[in-house]
């Protein structure tokens, strides 16, 4: 059957309420930025020891999720799975929107956001950060072209080529994001090449969780049919991705524990007496991993959209917690400056960090920017198929 794409009507009270609600979060975030930039970072919880706080957690979470959200489109155009094809446009849109939200946070948390032009014109090609600036900008261009190929009927034949380019680019992009941490020789928590592939698999899970929630919400709110075949397939896939993330986390920590130089940081994260240990076990592993998998795979809950929605939400919350443990926990633990010696004064100890309200509001504002972009664009461009009922979307559908 032919898929027909149609803008959502977007005239109801619900639509405007959503826009207004997200708008308030965005305004609050801009207010926070003004407050932090006007006073300086002393009003934040950040310090010379914990230099990247909650804003970076949200920023990297969204950037990682962005590249993952594109996977749904890649499965259709690179791996030729027809079921995913009607979802491709939305997949590209969610990817761009999440990246925009993440980058907004990253830029507004700079010490000198007014010097963005410097970051765009002065490149140190040895810097992984500089590569990332190029990768992010390139992602916008490539995904935009990819979407254009999808939208323009005459150019449809190039979709799979554009899709392959976008898929390759996103793998490189997430490798770059993970490598921000992977090559910091000074810090025990980070200096591991596994960070890059782990970030890629995290992106699969977070991006898909965002996609599922946005898909289910937009079809429910616009009262369009969404069949079980697609929803269940996406749910199963999410379960696989969550399991894969947990596998990488296990390998990373077990591998680290084998090396004497890393026992300190592993004890700190896994068995410490501070916030990071419960965040890791209860937040990341149980809430963000085991519970979503149970919700997805428990036979009694199969095909239940509420529990799939809850599972997706938990994957996202677990993802934010995972990045918090990696980014803030990794900085809180002191660097091994004098191996074999204990530092009594001047450095060392666990660095304190308590996020200020302004930082949290900025982070949430990034999510709001991503969501408002999706909300507006599905109103103005035909991203969503009119129907994703099983008889329309499922290529193997048989009338019973």
């Amino acid at each position: 059957m032919n898929i027909r794409y149609q803008q959502i009507e977007g005239r109801g009270l619900g639509f405007y309420a959503l826009i207004a609600g997200l708008g308030i979060f965005i305004l609050a975030a801009l207010g926070s930025v003004y407050f932090m930039e006007h006073h300086g970072h002393y009003v934040t919880g950040m310090s010379n020891r914990v230099v990247w706080g909650i804003p970076h957690v949200f920023a990297l979470f969204l950037i990682v999720a962005a590249s993952g959200a594109l996977n749904v489109a890649s499965i259709a155009s690179v791996f030729q799975k027809k079921l995913y094809k009607p979802l491709s446009r939305l997949s590209g849109l969610v990817a761009l929107a999440l990246l925009a939200g993440g980058l907004m946070i990253l830029v507004l948390d700079l010490g000198r956001p007014d010097r963005l032009i410097v970051a765009m014109t002065e490149y140190n090609f040895k810097s992984i950060f500089a590569w990332n600036i190029i990768l992010y900008n390139g992602f916008f261009v490539i995904v935009a072209v990819y979407l254009w190929m999808m939208f323009e009927r005459r150019l449809n034949k190039f979709t799979s080529k554009a899709g392959l380019a976008a898929f390759t680019w996103r793998l490189i992009l997430t490798t770059g994001t993970g490598s921000i941490f992977g090559f910091l020789v000074a810090r025990q928590a980070y200096d591991a090449v596994i960070m890059a592939p782990m970030f890629i698999i995290m992106s699969f899970a977070f991006g898909l969780a965002f996609f599922i929630l946005i898909l289910m919400a937009s079809y429910k709110w616009s009262e369009r049919p969404l069949g079980d075949v697609i929803v269940n397939r996406l749910g199963n896939l999410l379960g696989v991705f969550v399991a894969a993330v947990m596998y990488f986390v296990a390998v990373k920590h077990l591998g680290n524990m084998y090396l004497a130089e890393n026992i300190g940081i592993e004890n700190f994260i896994l068995f410490g007496e501070h916030i990071y240990t419960p965040l890791f076990w209860i937040g990341q592993i149980v809430l963000g991993g085991l519970v979503p998998m149970a919700l997805i795979y428990h036979p009694a809950l199969r095909g239940n959209r509420s529990t799939l929605g809850l599972a997706s939400l938990l994957v996202l919350i677990g993802g934010v917690i995972q990045l918090y443990v990696i980014i803030v926990g990794g900085q809180a633990y002191p660097m091994e400056m004098f191996p074999g010696k204990e530092i009594l004064e001047g450095y060392g100890g666990i660095a304190a960090y308590s996020p200020s309200l302004a930082e949290i509001v900025l982070g949430i504002g990034g999510i709001a920017v991503a969501l408002i972009a999706v909300t507006f664009l599905v109103k103005f461009l035909p991203f969503l198929p009119e129907s994703l009922a099983d008889e329309v979307a499922d290529p193997h559908y048989k009338t019973k």
């Binding site: 010490g111 000198r112 410097v118 002065e122």
Partner: protein, 244 residues
């Protein structure tokens, strides 16, 4: 009188301009000659370094070094920043050997690495190393991303968390940018030594050109046992320690 056409006008003005430029450049050369060191280009022929003999330094010596740096470079008067947000271009660090219990106290600052991780990670080239080995931050290029602070193995860098007043003219600083020890580059370029080295009376802190075979630092390093902090990272630091 012959009217001046355009070609003649250009010819004449060019000649006059060239003449003025020649004389003026002669004048400026003589002016600069009064401060010979500063006009010399920085070259790879030199590698500035510092040797700190921990056994010869008392704790109050180290405190004097910290105070001298603050006084010279104008940091430490921040009013809003919390303790862990205040700048620390140089600080007193006390370490205890886990086996023997031996305690050492030493001053720690930017180690001016030959292979500085902060320079590698800086996206805008604001973190940079001069030819003579001094590692600096270009405050005009720094966007305040703090990646260099993540990368530095010595916790040597500080982020300016608030507006600043009464800065030293030779050491401009700015809210939202990263800073660290400059090895008192403004003094070194005029033939001087860093403020922290100057304030210590004994030869516990020796500043000089590591490459110059006749320099005191070079000769001392040839004679005595010395270490680099985190030598395992192969960064080849310009600041060396003995006695730890």
């Amino acid at each position: 009188m012959k009217a001046l056409n355009r070609r003649d006008f250009i010819k004449n003005t060019t000649a006059v301009t060239a003449g003025v430029a020649t004389i003026a450049s002669g004048i400026s050369l003589t002016t600069f000659a009064a401060e010979p060191k500063e006009s010399e280009p920085v070259t790879k022929e030199k590698r500035w370094g510092m040797l700190i003999d921990v056994n010869k330094l008392t704790e109050s010596n180290i405190e004097d070094m910290v105070n001298a740096c603050q006084e010279e470079n104008g940091w430490g008067n921040e009013v809003h920043s919390r303790a862990e947000q205040k700048p620390n271009w140089i600080k007193k660090v006390k370490v205890k050997d886990k086996s023997t219990g031996k305690i050492d106290t030493l001053p720690m600052m930017c180690q001016h690495c030959e292979q500085p991780p902060c320079v590698d990670v800086c996206p805008t080239n604001a973190s940079m190393k001069r030819e003579d080995g001094i590692v600096l931050v270009d405050k005009h290029l720094c966007i305040g991303c703090r990646y260099c602070m993540m990368a530095c193995p010595y916790d040597a860098r500080s982020f300016v968390h608030e507006d600043l007043n009464n800065q030293k003219t030779h050491m401009p600083r700015g809210k939202g940018t990263v800073e660290s020890c400059t090895l008192c580059v403004h003094r070194v370029d005029k033939g001087g030594v860093p403020a922290c080295a100057e304030v210590v009376d004994s030869d516990a802190v020796i500043f000089g050109d590591l490459y110059d075979a006749n320099s005191k630092i070079n000769q001392t390093l040839k004679k005595i046992q010395s270490t680099q902090i985190r030598a395992d990272l192969n960064l080849n630091t310009g600041v060396r320690y003995s006695g730890i």
